[in-house]
């Protein structure tokens, strides 16, 4: 991704884009010069600045901030699967290992993608945890995470479900910005596929009440992750109470109503949740 590609894409999506910013053509010239002289790193910053100028509204969070936030979460997830798959204390079935290897590949690919987009504006992995090493026990909350397969999958499920919530919560910060928003959405739905797959593994391992979707609030059976699921039991969507709607037999059930809408988390909520693992 590069700035010129992005502007071109915006032009396609929003033909009036150039016209709208024409009084400030200088902004584009400046950025062009800026980009060629300084670092690619400056581009995302410049990009968000341009948007503020173009649309005359200050974004509360810059595109770079959102992408770095995503990168930090992907660093955590990638490191988690890398550690789990390498852990000698964890014995996975061949099916489980295949699922995990697929997910691991995606999380590492997400890291590579976000780093390439951010360039030198990317937060370094070494700034996370202790010199880049995470505490997957979260300060002793999950002492057996790398020795007990069930604990590992429980934490994996919480990570994936939380990742879905994090991207969802961040999406409005990218409102109308075709390239970065679409990229974020395309990662968001993959995290949801992962969450579903990990939940299916847990269901197969005997956590019978765990479904591929989130029922109620915290349905993991682990109280330590209650906060990760706070608000997932919401029944009201856009002013509509879902349980007041007609289902196939009577109204939509409470379980179905909570399952069929995933809920967002704010950046502050997510940062607090992943802080104990070492995300900064």
């Amino acid at each position: 991704m590069n700035l010129f590609g992005i502007i071109e894409e915006i032009g396609k999506a929003d033909p009036e884009f150039q016209d709208r910013i024409s009084p400030r053509r200088d902004a584009i010239k400046n950025i062009t010069g800026f980009g060629s002289k300084v670092a690619v790193a400056a581009i995302p910053f410049a990009f968000s600045t341009l948007f503020k100028k173009a649309y005359g509204q200050a974004a509360t969070v810059s595109v770079t901030d959102v992408l770095n936030y995503a990168l930090k979460l992907e660093y955590l997830e990638a490191a988690f699967y890398n550690a789990g798959i390498a852990a000698t204390g964890l014995t996975f079935s061949s099916t489980e290992r295949a699922y995990l290897t697929t997910i691991q590949g995606h999380e590492n690919a997400h890291v590579a993608f976000l780093k390439s987009v951010l360039g030198s504006a990317a937060v370094a992995q070494s700034t996370q945890g202790t010199n880049g090493t995470y505490d997957f026990t979260a300060g002793g909350t999950f002492p057996t995470v790398l020795t007990n397969v069930d604990t590992f999958f429980a934490v994996a499920q919480a990570f994936e479900d939380t990742g879905v919530r994090a991207y969802k919560g961040a999406a409005p910060s990218l409102l109308g910005q075709q390239v970065p928003l679409t990229a974020a959405l395309n990662i968001h739905s993959v995290e949801a596929r992962h969450a579903s797959a990990v939940r299916q593994i847990r269901r197969a391992r005997g956590a019978a009440t765990t479904k591929p979707w989130i029922t109620g609030a915290n349905d993991t059976g682990i109280a330590a992750v209650n906060a990760n699921y706070a608000g997932e039991d919401n029944l009201n969507q856009g002013g509509v109470t879902i349980t007041s709607l007609s289902g196939v037999s009577g109204n939509i059930s409470t379980n179905a109503a909570t399952e069929c809408f995933d809920e967002p988390l704010t950046m502050a909520q997510v940062v607090a949740l992943v802080g104990p693992f070492g995300v900064k």
Binding site: L175, S196, P264
Partner: protein, 235 residues
């Protein structure tokens, strides 16, 4: 086309009043419907088959929400049919979770209908003649197509949404569609929950334009849906 198929299509497309009547009557209603001629059945369903073509309307959030409503109508109709005529060989777990998915899609459909109110497009008439509901592989292949397409549709339309609250709502739904997709895919081939047929080299889902998605959706619809403001008119 077999009469039986037409009746199935009518069953899944009932307007709410008829739908509730059906739901209340349970299995017995199938017999009643089976004894009804096709034209009469359609006449009973007020507002459903009135138009053979509809358009999601002028550029803006209402159009995007109606686009989503159209897709959710299609998915709900499909899963209602699946659950009402469960294919042979389904495990209890499969039946339970496919029924969950049906309820999710019905909830999505009813949500959009309620949220859009008088701005909502009419009920669409689906055409599932290409799907053999007695066949597990046929049903799951169709389910996979619906779910994967749903994900690409929401992902592709996200940037067109102008109101952040609607973007969040779309986000709340698309991740559930992705959960469904992963489940259905694993039913077909374990481990295919996010394989390279749907993801790109960056481990990311793909997006599709409204035109591309409606082209697919219309192949399962008698009521053809256009999005002329977004450069797509159904043929």
């Amino acid at each position: 086309m077999k009469p039986e198929k037409l009746i199935e299509n009518a069953e899944v497309n009932m307007a709410r009043r008829s739908f509730l009547r059906y739901a209340g009557a349970g299995v017995a209603a199938v017999g009643v419907l089976s004894a009804t001629s096709c034209s009469k059945t359609f006449d009973d369903y007020k507002g459903a088959p009135g138009k053979s073509k509809i358009d999601i309307g002028a550029t803006g959030d209402l159009a995007i929400l109606n686009y989503a409503y159209a897709l959710e109508q299609l998915e709900a109709a499909f899963y209602i049919n699946v659950a009402a005529h469960m294919y042979t060989g389904a495990s209890a777990d499969e039946i339970a979770l496919l029924t969950d998915i049906r309820d999710h899609e019905v909830a999505h459909r009813e949500f959009f209908k309620a949220a859009l109110g008088t701005n909502a497009i009419p009920a669409l008439t689906p055409n599932f003649n290409a799907i053999d509901f007695s066949s597990r592989s046929s049903v799951l292949a169709a389910a996979r197509a619906f779910e994967d397409t749903g994900v690409t549709a929401y992902n592709g339309a996200g940037y067109l949404i102008q109101n952040p609250a609607y973007l969040t709502l779309a986000g709340k739904i698309v991740s559930v569609e992705a959960r469904h997709a992963a489940y259905i895919r694993n039913l077909i081939t374990p481990g295919s929950f996010a394989d390279t047929t749907v993801l790109d080299a960056n481990g990311m889902d793909k997006q599709q334009s409204i035109a591309a998605v409606l082209g697919i959706a219309n192949s399962f619809l008698t009521t053809k849906v256009s999005a002329s403001s977004y450069g797509y008119v159904a043929s």
